[in-house]
């Protein structure tokens, strides 16, 4: 038998005005297992709370019903109060007599009848509750940032500046991401390298930051505060402790490889740094192309290396560490437009390039040392066509979404081209020009003043005539056909999530949308958190963004991480799913339905009919379970139950109501 105490609140006249609280109390006294009923003018006031505490002690109450305002208002107050008494804080049910009764009904009789039912339901439920205890989850005061682009670097710096250890995992050989490839940044036209490389060296030199370049996340387990992450550091074949980064090896290496950093427009050696200002400022050997590693003959680099840092026997290294928080800053890549747009040549024409290739072309450290020369014959293009929304806003061929930054960087490209080739002509085919940002529209207007010709419409076909690229399109403002003869065409292609995001997100059970962008916990109110507690988002992994927005989000993610790492331990929510292993059949329907990946099937040994049996059962990870209870409904046998909202308590609540 339980001993239930019912505490009913007048809430001044808020409840008592429409509900006859004394009549409700009278009824409550007649309910089974109710040993004490008290009414109070303001139960939540200090004397009111004191009264509840005293009654609990004096009457030996072991579970409590409060009939007052909405549990969304004061449930935490009551829980806290009960924590100071012998009653378990979760042996509590709140009947919502104010928001959902006295405030919405006028007739006193009707409202009183409803209040009686609500109290009956609460009593029926509380009688079936069990004491619950939250567990303390320790927080490892260390953060992992995946991706070393501008977003990842900013997050890492902010967290590290707050005094916490950070590890950055970057799968390329250097930090910098996409930003460091850019030439200038809109709308201020700062040199991208000039603002990005100082960040890189700051990250590289920060005492609290460990940079793991040329590394990828191999495996993850655990939950908020305790993510156990295994990182695979790919073999670099160079001992970074010995290497001074002098670069002698690079100059002597005979192998030539297409340079991905220069967007395939130049060649690099097999032992290489991604670019001169790379951080770490030390080369790696590209095992696929190194002559020594592929054919066994060569070894020039080891001969020229003054410190003997070259080690051809190097192997991938796996390290496992525990992190309290994880930030995704995995960024984007440009959509592969070639198979999607055969009408633009599908890659056939060398002089149809992407925006990122154009960035390298105008960059002083790029393959042409900053001269705008078209790739096919290295001549200066006198007319350039820029096509926007290639792959964006085009659900039939590419993506339905707007890639957000292209309007601005196409204006920047037009501006840069006209700046470098003053007698050139620049045509921009656009669908809309979207310039919401500080100084953005002004920048666009300046580009127009520079002489860029904007044509509203899409290009339907590009073909070659002599050494000219003929772009046929429509000007929808004049409803006329337009044909432009261009020397070079720049396609401003859509942003899509970086390669491998699906596998990586699946490891961390982070949600992805239909386009594989990572999904934030709430589109408006929790934009940097994911649904997996302890995992946050920064930059373009969440959706297309420009640099300022990426940096903003990076800072926001960092502040969330700092907030988390500041705590020594987290109190887990004890109202989570629990498995009755006797009933569990281990068919895994619950695993399928859990949005947090909190349930796993494990083989366990049981003693059944005096025999040892090993059979699969579900197991709930208390750090991951958020207590939604979706799993309980898939469990036909009822082996999975949600503590605090058990099947039994809800059934008895329904029954209590039906007696009315």
């Amino acid at each position: 038998m339980s001993r239930i105490g019912v505490f009913l609140c007048y809430c001044g006249s808020n409840i008592a005005g429409t509900v006859d609280v004394e009549a409700v109390a009278e009824m409550a006294r007649s309910l089974p297992e109710v040993v004490y009923v008290e009414t109070n003018k303001y139960t939540c006031s200090d004397p009111g709370q004191e009264g509840v505490k005293n009654a609990i002690i004096e009457k030996g109450i072991d579970r409590v019903v409060v009939g007052a305002c909405s549990p969304r208002m004061h449930e935490p107050t009551w829980r806290k109060l009960l924590a100071d008494t012998p009653v378990n804080p979760y042996m509590l049910e709140v009947a919502n007599l104010r928001e959902q009764c006295s405030w919405v009904h006028k007739d006193r009789e009707v409202a009183t009848a409803k209040a009686i039912d609500l109290v009956k339901m609460a009593v029926a439920k509380v009688a079936r509750l069990q004491p619950l205890h939250s567990i303390e989850i320790p927080v490892h005061k260390k953060a992992l940032v995946i991706g070393g682009g501008i977003a990842g670097m900013q997050t890492a710096l902010d967290i590290a500046d707050a005094g916490f250890q950070v590890t950055i995992v970057e799968r390329e050989t250097s930090l910098g991401g996409k930003m460091v490839m850019l030439d200038k940044t809109f709308p201020t036209m700062d040199c991208s390298a000039c603002i990005c490389t100082p960040k890189m060296s700051e990250v590289g030199n920060h005492p609290n930051i460990t940079v793991k370049s040329y590394s990828e996340v191999e495996n993850v387990s655990g939950y908020i505060g305790n993510f156990e992450v295994t990182i695979r550091e790919k073999a670099k074949f160079i001992d970074y402790n010995l290497c001074t980064g002098c670069g002698a090896c690079e100059t002597k290496c005979p192998a030539k490889v297409t340079n991905a950093f220069e967007q395939g427009m130049s060649q690099r050696t097999a032992i290489y740094k991604m670019f001169p200002q790379a951080v770490p400022a030390k080369p790696v050997i590209d095992a696929e192309h190194c002559l020594k590693l592929t054919t066994g003959k060569c070894g020039v680099c080891s001969k020229v290396c003054p410190t003997g840092a070259i080690n051809y026997e190097d192997e991938d290294k796996l390290t496992t560490e525990t992190y309290g928080a994880v930030v995704f800053a995995t960024g984007y890549k440009l959509i592969d437009w070639k198979p999607l747009y055969p009408e633009y040549g599908g890659g056939k024409y060398e002089d149809v390039i992407t925006g990122l290739q154009f960035e390298r072309l105008v960059n002083a450290s790029g393959p042409t040392e900053g001269h705008v020369l078209r790739p096919s014959d290295r001549t200066e293009p006198k007319s350039v066509v820029i096509i926007k929304c290639v792959g964006s806003r085009d659900p039939n061929k590419g993506k339905a979404y707007c890639s957000r930054a292209c309007c601005m960087y196409s204006a920047k490209h037009a501006h840069q081209y006209l700046d470098k080739v003053p007698d050139g002509k620049c045509y921009v085919f656009y669908m809309d020009v979207r310039t919401p940002g500080k100084g953005y529209d002004e920048f666009y207007m300046n580009t127009l003043h520079d002489g860029a010709q904007y044509i509203r419409g899409r290009v339907s076909k590009i073909y070659k005539e002599g050494d000219k690229l003929i772009c046929k399109g429509e000007d929808t403002l004049t409803s006329s056909q337009v044909t432009v003869s261009a020397d070079m065409v720049v396609l401003e292609t859509a942003m899509v999530p970086a390669d491998g995001i699906d596998e990586l997100a699946a490891k961390f059970t982070v949600g992805r949308d239909a386009d594989s962008w990572l999904v934030e916990a709430h589109a408006k109110l929790r934009p940097v958190e994911t649904n997996t507690a302890g995992i946050y988002l920064a930059g373009t992994c969440q959706g297309p963004k420009d640099i300022p927005d990426s940096v903003c989000q990076a800072g926001a993610a960092a502040s969330k991480v700092i907030g988390l790492l500041n705590k020594d331990a987290l109190q887990s929510n004890p109202q989570i799913s629990r498995v009755n292993e006797t009933l569990c059949q281990g068919d895994g329907a619950c695993v399928n339905i859990c949005p947090y990946g909190a349930i796993s099937i494990v083989e366990k040994q049981f003693r059944e009919n005096s025999r040892k049996v090993v059979r699969p059962v579900a197991q709930v990870n208390p750090g991951l379970c958020q207590g939604c209870g979706a799993c309980t409904v898939t469990c036909r046998a009822g082996a999975m139950d949600l503590l605090g909202y058990t099947n039994e308590s809800i059934m008895r609540e329904v029954d209590a109501l039906c007696q009315w």
């Binding site: 059949q585 068919d587 036909r636 039994e648």
Partner: protein, 284 residues
């Protein structure tokens, strides 16, 4: 060699070689037009096995209790094999726990009426969907033209009439749970009807509790039902249970795309434990 000869020969070999610990098939009953399921572990008993048009029982579920004793050999037709798929997908048994001898099935005969059994006239897959070897060839058989004819029949009734129709069903039900016990989808370690704490279903045998059982049974097995029709066949009160199962299957079909459960081991999750953002919205 007839299928029956092959079954006997293979059962003997499998038991003698120790590849299986027990073998499940049918044996002749007291009467010529009757068979009963037979579980043997002695190779000498293999000649008791029969396979004829009176093998009405679906065998899959017997495997569940035999698996702890070792690998089980089993004769499977379309319905038995889908039952086995169900048990494997639901983690009740593992694929390597069973050795399946497939037979094509022309349909079996109701020994009382001499007519083909209802479940066989409705059968859409009379040949095994998985097996390790076949005894004899696959058998061609016409699939019924309309899988949901009986459901539509009920849907055409007016609302009060439907209500009365199902209340009369629940009034007849004696809650013997034969439909549950025979169902290869019903493999819970403890059925919800036996859960004392939640007390989903009261002990009384009345219309209300029977309705609770009936509705919940369908919700529990609907998206996994293999349409073997065994529940209906074993019902001592001759209740048309497939009218309920097929209703759910029909709706799953209409709403979430063509659906037929347990056709292979690598099907995706059942329709009710997955979702699609593009699902129809009717609750706005």
């Amino acid at each position: 060699m007839t299928a029956q000869d092959t079954i006997r020969a293979r059962a003997r070999e499998l038991l003698e070689s120790g590849e299986v610990a027990s073998f499940v098939g049918w044996e002749a009953g007291r009467f010529a037009n009757q068979t009963t399921p037979l579980i043997i572990s002695d190779p000498a008993d293999a000649d008791k096995l029969v396979f004829n048009e009176y093998c009405v029982n679906t065998l899959a579920k017997y495997v569940r209790d035999l698996v702890p004793r070792g690998k089980v050999g089993l004769v499977v037709r379309g319905c038995d094999s889908r039952g086995i798929v169900r048990l494997i997908v639901d983690q009740v048994i593992k694929r390597e726990d069973v050795y399946l001898i497939g037979v094509g099935c022309p349909g079996v005969i109701d020994r009382k009426s001499g007519e083909p059994l209802k479940k066989c006239t409705e059968c859409r897959h009379n040949n095994p969907v998985i097996c390790d070897e076949m005894a004899g060839d696959e058998v061609a058989k016409d699939a019924p033209a309309d899988r949901f004819a009986e459901v539509r029949e009920v849907e055409l009734m007016a609302q009060p009439e439907r209500s009365r129709y199902f209340e009369s069903i629940y009034a007849k039900c004696i809650r013997c749970y034969a439909c549950r016990d025979v169902c290869p989808c019903c493999t819970c370690r403890e059925c919800f009807v036996d859960a004392r704490r939640e007390n989903w279903v009261g002990k009384q045998n009345n219309v209300a509790e029977n309705r609770f059982y009936g509705l919940t049974r369908v919700m529990h097995i609907g998206d996994r039902c293999i349409e073997c029709g065994e529940c209906e066949r074993v019902c001592p009160m001759d209740l048309p249970l497939m009218k309920l199962n097929r209703k759910v299957i029909q709706d799953l079909n209409d709403l979430f795309g063509e659906f037929e459960s347990s056709m292979s081991l690598d099907e995706g999750p059942e329709p009710l434990i997955t979702y699609d953002l593009a699902d129809r919205e009717e609750f706005m």
